[in-house]
């Protein structure tokens, strides 16, 4: 396995996931394995390969600027844990 340092606590915070110390250890090992696997790719010589943003050889996929029907507001809000006056209610936002 490649030597890959991963700050599990930091990554968990970025993903807003609360982990117990046991979970941290377990996920840390699993993620380490994944990164180790990715490390294997470094063994390949890609100096002759053009970098790409996408695996599919398609470009310029566009649609015309036309309005299409939106969802009825009650459907849009169907998954909202809380709602009022057509708004999704969320915990108070403080910056």
């Amino acid at each position: 396995m490649a030597d890959t340092e991963l700050d599990v606590k930091y990554v968990a915070h970025l993903a807003r996931i609360a982990l117990s110390p046991a979970e941290e250890a377990k996920l840390g090992a699993q993620l380490g394995n994944i990164l180790g696997y990715i490390e294997k790719l470094r063994e390949l010589d890609v100096s002759q390969v053009e970098p790409t943003a996408h695996a599919i050889p398609l470009i310029n996929v566009m649609r015309p600027d036309e309005i299409r029907p939106s969802l009825p507001v009650e459907d849009a809000l169907r998954n909202a844990p809380a709602q009022a006056n057509g708004l999704f209610l969320v915990p108070k936002i403080v910056e």
Partner: protein, 474 residues
């Protein structure tokens, strides 16, 4: 020690499209909350965004208007963060391969020309709008997914006034180009300000302070008027500034700390797998470039040089494009475009407002205004009579020469006729004649007025003056 400010601006502008950037929901302000939303802009699982071609066109068109280069390859990336107004938990944006880069904006400032370099203008999406209540917040996603252009300037600005002038110049360009309506009241333009201070002559930049989410240009100016002296005071007192983000409190007139660098976001950008790269073809670019318009500053300069107009007149035409187009159309044959401009700006505009007539319905034919000016310049009618002729032209669409003819308004330059009128007036006003002979110059003006009145305004005023004077002195 003297200090100077170094300012760069990130200006966010909503593009003027009918539909949103990745879905067909309407790009419309003021609809009831969450009525212009669909699975794509709500970030529901399993949906696929598809780029709005007009959004890409307006982005590239902005690049042309801001003198940018247009890279042959552009792509989209995900900027990851959690915030209630970002339904996907990421914003689609252009990170390392933007659609436009390396441009500049020229504008008039402090009696000269200034240039601010543009780092890039890249395409991204707007987020929802938050409402804050006592115990919770509410989110409306109508704005989420609206195409948003981020125009990043180099740190070329040095004062609050210069920043304010640049922003207005940029706004004028975007409105002219049909890129955005730039309605500040509707939140179509928002600004992040980066500002640092350094001793004059020092090359390295000071610690960069970012002021987030300004929604008015005057707010930007006021925030800088507060922030620059604040930073200078800190440094002068031996303090140290560190990179941080501040918020402008418009009511209190101060900036306050939001977050310092330690808590800075880690956005983990990566290529957006759902959107294909964009490689504009020559034909596509050619089609967009045909929408490039003359910019406000170029227009102003052209009106000043081509028509000999003073700056205020040229500015009037910059700010009122239809009126300017009308002026250019009617003045094509004119020998005296400046006088034609006066008629258009002063008289025609007043008549349009007074009668509520749209410009398109003006009856005056294109060649008629220059003809009216020629009648005045040639001494055929007085400028006072010209006002009446103009009113008639506006009302009926008749040619000025025909009106003068029909109403017998031609200026009388027949010396014999004027002499007769002068004799009458002198006879009727012996006291004024006496006064003039006694050295009271003002009496001549009174007599001259009487002759003009008697001639119903038609006598050539220059001739009247000469003849009166000759008669009184003999």
């Amino acid at each position: 020690m003297e200090y100077e400010a170094v300012i760069g601006l990130e200006t966010h502008v909503q593009l003027k499209t009918k539909s949103k950037m990745w879905c067909g929901c309407a790009n419309e302000f003021g609809a009831p909350p969450n009525t212009n939303v669909c699975p794509v802009c709500l970030g529901l699982p399993g949906v696929l965004p598809v780029a709005n071609e007009e959004g890409l066109r307006l982005t590239v068109l902005t690049g042309y208007l801001l003198n940018c280069s247009i890279p042959s390859f552009a792509k989209f990336d995900r900027k990851n963060y959690f915030y209630p107004d970002a339904p996907k938990n990421y914003q689609i944006t252009q990170y390392d391969k933007p659609s436009t880069a390396h441009g500049f904006v020229d504008f008039e400032f402090a009696g000269g020309m200034s240039r601010v370099r543009i780092t890039r203008a890249h395409l991204e999406e707007d987020v929802g709008k938050n409402f804050h209540f006592a115990r919770n917040s509410g989110v409306d996603f109508n704005r989420a997914g609206v195409p948003l252009l981020e125009i990043v300037s180099e740190p070329d600005l040095t004062s609050s006034d210069m920043a304010y002038t640049y922003l207005n110049a940029l706004k004028d360009i975007l409105i002219y180009g049909g890129i955005s309506d730039c309605d500040m009241e509707k939140g179509m333009v928002r600004c992040d300000v980066n500002v640092s201070v350094r001793p004059v002559g020092q090359k390295e930049l000071g610690a960069k302070i970012e002021i987030k989410n300004m929604n008015s240009f005057s707010g930007v100016r006021r925030a800088l008027d507060y922030e620059i002296p604040r930073q200078i005071a800190v440094v002068k007192a031996g303090g140290k500034l560190s990179q941080e983000t501040r918020r402008w409190d418009d009511v209190g007139g101060i900036t306050e700390l939001m977050r310092s660098k330690e808590q800075a976001h880690d956005y983990r950008y990566f290529p957006e797998p759902d959107l294909m790269p964009f490689e504009p073809t020559a034909a596509w670019l050619e089609e967009v470039s045909r929408r490039v318009v003359e910019l406000p500053l170029a227009r102003k300069q052209r009106f000043m040089t081509a028509y000999g107009l003073p700056a205020p007149d040229a500015e009037t035409f910059v700010n009122d494009v239809p009126l300017a187009d009308y002026f250019e159309q009617v003045t094509a044959t004119a020998k005296n475009p400046k006088a034609v401009a006066n008629w258009v700006i002063n008289n025609l505009r007043a008549k349009l407002t007074e009668t509520g007539t749209p410009l398109a319905e003006v009856k005056i034919k294109p060649a008629d205004l220059p003809d009216l000016v020629a009648l005045v310049d040639g001494g055929k009618i007085s400028s006072k009579i010209a006002q009446d002729v103009f009113a008639e032209m506006f009302a009926t669409g008749e040619a000025p020469a025909a009106i003068v003819e029909k109403k017998g308004l031609a200026q009388v330059s027949d010396t014999g006729a004027i002499e007769k009128l002068c004799d009458e007036v002198i006879a009727a006003n012996p006291k004024s004649a006496e006064d003039f002979r006694a050295g009271k110059g003002a009496a001549l003006n009174f007599l001259k007025g009487q002759v003009m009145k008697l001639s119903k305004g038609k006598a050539n005023p220059g001739l009247v003056g000469e003849i009166l004077e000759r008669k009184l002195q003999s």
